[in-house]
Symmetry: C2
Subunit: 353 residues, 2 copies
Amino acid sequence: MTGPSAGAAAPIHDLEEAPVKLATLRSDNPDGRLVVVSRDLARCAPAPVPTLQAALEDWGGVAAPLQARADAVNAGTAPDLQPFVPAQALAPLPRAWQWLDGSAFLSHARLMARVFGMEESASHLPLMYQGMSHRFMAPLEEVPFRSEQDGIDFEGEFAVITDAVPMGTGPAPAARHIRLVALINDWSLRLIGAREMKTGFGWVQAKPACSAAPVVVTPDELGPAWARCRVRLPLRVNWNGAGFGQADGGEMSFGFDELIAYAAATRDLCAGTIVGSGTVSNEDCREVGSSCIAERRGIEMLDHGEARTGYLRSGDRVTMEVLDADGTSVFGRIDQRIVVTGGTAAPATEVAR
Amino acid sequence: MTGPSAGAAAPIHDLEEAPVKLATLRSDNPDGRLVVVSRDLARCAPAPVPTLQAALEDWGGVAAPLQARADAVNAGTAPDLQPFVPAQALAPLPRAWQWLDGSAFLSHARLMARVFGMEESASHLPLMYQGMSHRFMAPLEEVPFRSEQDGIDFEGEFAVITDAVPMGTGPAPAARHIRLVALINDWSLRLIGAREMKTGFGWVQAKPACSAAPVVVTPDELGPAWARCRVRLPLRVNWNGAGFGQADGGEMSFGFDELIAYAAATRDLCAGTIVGSGTVSNEDCREVGSSCIAERRGIEMLDHGEARTGYLRSGDRVTMEVLDADGTSVFGRIDQRIVVTGGTAAPATEVAR
C-alpha cells in the first residue's frame, strides 16, 4: 500500500471501497482466467489472482492488489494491457457453488398474484429458491432449449456475489459481505414452472442455466447508483432489437443485505455465493416495460383479458445492458440467440424418455 | 489392463462393472484426498486420482485403475495400505456442484398428504428440489443448528452420483451414468419447511447442509441388492441409541434412472451431480419404522389424532447405517450429535436480524 495510509495498517474500510471491474476470459481452466477491466470496458489486464472464485476466497488479501491493477488499467499504464474482447469472456463465475435467487420486487409479485387470482404471500419475507449453479452461460453464447412448448422466457435481474457469510448474519453485517454486483438473465420455462410451483418443491426443470453479463463490479464502482444495497439504474432489455423494458433496480422491496441475511439464516454461505434480486420490476411497469415476458403477459391479461405476447421462439435474440449516468455500459452486454434443439418436443409436463 | 481382454480395447461394459468402495480423507485440499476402501471398511489406500470430483470427471479413464487398486486393497497387497479411520473421513464429495433431491417413495407422499388433508400430486412424475451442495457434513461431525424451535429433523435416504449427463437423456441411458451410490442424512427444519413450501419456491432456510456416510460404492458392489436402479436394503436409523426405522430402499416408486432423466430434462448435469431418493419409506411403516420424524408424527396424527414425538433437541445423537446380506456395513456409519448454537432463538418465520 502507498498513499496516505502507507506505513500504517490499511483500514479494512479502504480495501472494501476499491472500485474495480472484473471479467473472466476463456482459458484451459473451466473457471477461466480473471482479468481487470477498464471502466469503459475497452481494455483489460490479467488480475493478480487466477480466478474469481480464488479472489472471493481471499478478498481481504486481493482487494488492494486488484485496485492497484485497476488503477493501472484505467490509466493505461499496465504493462500487459490488452483489448477487452467480450467474445472471449465467460460468465464472471462460469460455475458457482451456490446460486440463491430471490424475488425482491413486490410490485411484480402483487401483479402476478392479481393475474392468477392467488393469495399474496406474506410481504415481510423475501421469496427465494436455490437454482442450478454449476454453469452460467457466457454473455454472447447461443443458448439451447429443448422445446418452444416449454414457454421460454427471460428474466433480467441484478445479483451480488458474496465472500464467506456465517450462519445467522443479519442484514447490516451482511452488507459488508457484498463484494461484487452482476447482471443476470435467469432463463425460465414458464409452462413447466407453473406445475413445479404447485408441488411446493420449487423449480428444477423450469430453471436451466442462467446467463451473465461479462463484467462484475464492486459496489462502490457504481457510485451513487449503489444505495441501500440496491442498484438504482434501469436494466435495459431488448427482444429481437426492440426495447422491451427498462425497469429500475432501485425499487427492490428487500435490499441485497436482507436477501443475504435470509439466505444465511440457517446455513453458512460459501465464498462465491451469488444472490439474485429476481426479475426487476417497477410499479409503473406499463410505462417502463418489464424484464420478463411473463410480466407483460400478466399486464395484458389484466388490461385486455388475454395474453397477447407469446414466449420466445428459436432464433430469437435477447440483449440486456445497464448504462450508468454517463451512458457507459456498467456490466457489458448480454447478447444471445436462443436455439431450440428439438431433442424432444414432448409436452412440458412429461418426463423426457 | 490384463486378463482376458488384454491386447484388445477393454469393453466399456467391464469398466462400468468395477466393484469399488471409495472415501475421502481430510487433507489440506477442501475436496480432501480420495482413498480406495476395503470391502469390510478396515483398510484403505490412496486412489490413483486425487479427488472424487476428478475421478467423476474422467470415469472412463480411472475406472480400471480404481478397480485394480480395490483388488489390491481387498487382497491386502497394496503397498501403501493403511487402516481406514472413519474419524478422518469427510463426506465422499465434501462439496458438490449440484444436489438434486427427489421424493421417490409415493407411500410417504400419500401418507403425508392424508395427514395434512392435501391433494396428492400427480404420481406419474417424481418430485425434486435443488438443494444446497457447497457443503456436505462429515459422517462423525457435530452438526450445528440455530434453534430447536425450527423443528429439527433427519431424513435418511439413498443417493447416486453421476458423471456428466447430457440434457434430454432418458431413463435407460441415464442408468449408465450412475457411477456411485451413497447414504445421506438430509437434515430438515420442518417448521420453516411448511412455510417455504407454500411459497412454491421450495426450500432454502429449511434445508441446511446434508450429512453423508463415509463410503460410496459402485452399483455392482451392491450385487443383487442393486436392482432396477434401487437399493434393496434397509436403512437403519437410530435416535439416541434406540432403533427408529429400517425402511427398505427397494420400494422407490421411481428408480434413480427416472430421477436422473427428470433432472436432465432441460439441463446438462455436470459430473459429480448427486441425486437423492428422498426419505426412505415403506408401505408397512408402522412395522418397519420411518427414516424421518415427520413421518412418524404423521402416523401418530392419523392413529391418535395428535403428534406425540417431538423433533430433535440439542445433544441428540442420530446414526444411520446400511448392512448387506452378510451384515457388513456398506457405506460405513453416519454417527452425529447435533448442537443448537443459540445464535438466534427467533421464531422460524422471522428473518434473522
